[in-house]
């Protein structure tokens, strides 16, 4: 049974085409992992589901997302309704500046639960589900920011569940956590999949292997492959999926030439890259360093269109990306 149906979904940030014509179905009460390199549109896809993408200036979305009988992207759909049905577990825990109790009670209060006794019950129930109750039962009134990062993340999980969603969206939920806390979160998610549809964005292949029943692979905004986890992860049909899965273990490719295009805007970085590639012999490898976000997707795309092979696109640090291209034609 599919729970979320995505049809011809495209997303743009200004001129940047972040998602290209995605059509896929997300199964109910299973964990679906969206994998792919950084900047491939994973988080964007998640933001389309709960329409947090509306908050980004210059973002446009087209296509359809159907959840149950709800048309998510339709202008007439109440966006608070959409978000209520999808809990969000963010990349970095984002407790609200209030007590532990108030954090969990925040959602139910918004939606009209006023009675103290009822709120107490809700808070206890969801802190238990989040696996945090035993640690905080004596200090529910203390500020949420006093908790450790791992505890904060479980609090965010409990808070998201307290509005009784059907779907839990997780955006790299363990990337800011230490290994023990990460494991804790993963265990909670595995417990929750009996009752919820879970979508998790991750760039950690191992995590996808541990958690996912179903896998969607995105690459440069395109849907490359999707299917049951064991098929996609162990026996990918697509060359690019195989490259990505293996690529995470891949040693550095030895580049024949390296050029630094930091500080160059599109299309100049593309032009310089093309010139450099032109000077190389067939089969040689060119390594580019770029820091322009548009270039991260547009340069590889342009190179592929020119018949060359994009070996890998990797983020090196906060601003810089490394693109490796093999000259073919």
């Amino acid at each position: 049974m599919s729970h979320i149906t995505i049809q011809n979904l495209s997303a743009f940030y200004g001129d940047h085409h972040a998602l290209r014509d995605i059509t896929v179905e997300i199964p109910e009460k299973l964990i679906t992992a969206i994998i792919g390199p950084s900047g491939c549109g994973k988080s964007t896809l998640l933001k389309c589901f709960n329409r947090l993408i509306d908050l980004t200036d210059g973002a446009r979305v087209s296509g359809k997302i159907i959840v149950g009988n709800m048309d998510v992207l339709n202008g007439g759909t109440d966006v608070t309704d959409v978000r209520r049905r999808m809990g969000l577990l963010p990349q970095k825990p984002n407790p609200l500046p209030m007590s532990i109790y108030d954090n969990v009670a925040y959602g139910p209060r918004l939606h009209g639960v006023k009675e103290k006794k009822k709120l107490d019950e809700i808070v206890e129930k969801y802190l238990k589900i989040g696996g945090l109750w035993d640690e905080v039962r004596d200090r529910l009134k203390s500020p949420a920011s006093k908790l450790s990062i791992g505890q904060q993340q479980r609090l965010c999980l409990a808070r998201g569940l307290a509005v009784e969603p059907e779907i839990i969206l997780c955006d790299e939920p363990t990337s800011a956590l230490d290994p023990v806390s990460s494991q804790h979160i993963e265990q909670q998610l595995l417990k929750l999949k009996n009752d919820y549809t879970i979508v998790i964005v991750t760039h950690n292949i191992h995590q996808a292997m541990r958690l996912a029943d179903y896998v969607i692979h995105l690459y440069l905004g395109e849907l490359v492959e999707h299917g049951p986890a064991n098929e996609v992860l162990e026996n990918p049909k697509e060359e690019r999926t195989r490259a990505y899965i293996n690529g995470t273990f891949l040693a550095d490719v030895k580049a024949d030439q390296e050029i630094n295009l930091k500080g160059n805007m599109c299309p100049y970085n593309f032009v310089y890259a093309k010139q450099a590639l032109h000077a190389l012999e067939k089969g040689k490898i060119l390594k580019l360093i770029v820091d322009d976000p548009t270039a991260v997707t547009e340069v590889p795309r342009g190179m592929e269109a020119g018949g060359h092979e994009v070996v890998s696109v990797r983020q090196q640090n906060k601003t810089d990306w490394e693109i490796i291209i093999r000259k073919k034609s």
Partner: protein, 306 residues
């Protein structure tokens, strides 16, 4: 090499001296005021001075109560007008307004903050005072406390002072709280919105809450500006020594008392000392109210962030 190190040490010391000097200045002013107001404190009891409501310097009667009350009421009224107005504007500008509107409105608000007080005073006399004189009769027999306009109203009143002060203060509060709202991390909004909150719920329960310490600081700054403001206020409040029973009555704040009288009739015994005591009282009011506000601020922050 040694010379370089010497210069380094000297630069450090020089900056230390500058920092110490500017912070010690406040004590120097306070001590000077105290020493100069001592003569009156020696002959009169503090209770008599602070609670007396008669001001007859020639008979050596100095009651500061009407002035203290005048300062407190005018400032409080100004804050009552300015706080909601500025915070709502700041919320709108930070959360709702588009870039174009912001690029027009924000510079205008900054411009307003830069207008000299005397200009606001003239504006008050020409526009606010007649307005108040016009509306005062409407409340003549309203029976509402503090709104009862007694008989003939000139418009030179607590209300006029409050309005003029509010106009002077709100650009400060707006521009600071705007920055504070802008500094609220996106994650806070994201957290609230993803739980199905509307935009307004998010602002009301999450954004304002996060911004509260900053807003409080903005309000404190506005308050200190309002309470110490002299020129614009003395031009519109009427400067009559009496205890105002309504916001349409005239009043006489401490700042106006000092500015109007210092340097005149100084031959009257104790007069000079009385005015400097007024200055000391004003300084203490500001000191304690700012201190109190800071304490509240610390408590809010502790409750939120531990």
């Amino acid at each position: 090499m040694n010379f370089r190190r010497l210069k380094d040490a000297f630069a450090g010391r020089l900056m230390l001296a500058a920092a110490v000097f500017s912070s010690v200045l406040v004590f120097i002013v306070a001590i000077a005021l105290y020493l100069r107001s001592e003569p009156i404190l020696e002959v009169k009891s503090l209770g008599e001075l602070l609670l007396g409501s008669a001001w007859l310097p020639s008979q050596s009667i100095f009651g500061f109560y009407p002035f203290i009350l005048g300062t407190v009421i005018v400032t409080a009224l100004a804050m009552v007008f300015a706080i909601p107005l500025s915070i709502l504007s700041a919320v709108y500008l930070a959360e709702y307004a588009n870039e174009r509107l912001k690029s027009i409105v924000l510079p205008l608000i900054d411009l307003l903050a830069g207008i000299p007080p005397v200009v606001f005073g003239v504006f008050g006399v020409l526009a606010v005072v007649p307005l108040v004189a016009g509306i005062a009769p409407l409340f003549k027999d309203s029976g509402i406390p503090f709104l009862n306009g007694g008989g003939y109203a000139t418009g030179y009143s607590v209300l006029a002072g409050g309005i003029v002060l509010a106009i002077m203060v709100f650009p400060i509060i707006i521009s600071i709280s705007y920055e504070v709202f802008k500094a609220v991390p996106f994650e806070v909004r994201e957290a609230s919105l993803s739980l199905g909150a509307t935009r307004w719920q998010t602002i009301k329960h999450a954004v304002i809450r996060t911004a509260l310490p900053g807003i409080a600081a903005a309000v404190i700054l506005g308050f200190s500006r309002a309470i110490g403001e002299t020129m614009a206020v003395l031009m519109v409040v009427g400067n009559v020594v009496k205890i105002p029973s309504s916001i349409f009555d005239s009043t006489y704040p401490l700042t106006a008392l000092i500015a109007n009288n210092y340097g005149e009739m100084m031959s009257i015994p104790l007069y000079d000392s009385a005015l400097l005591l007024a200055a000391l009282i004003l300084m203490l009011i500001i000191l304690f109210s700012t201190l109190g506000a800071r304490l509240i601020l610390v408590r809010i922050e502790r409750r939120m962030h531990g």
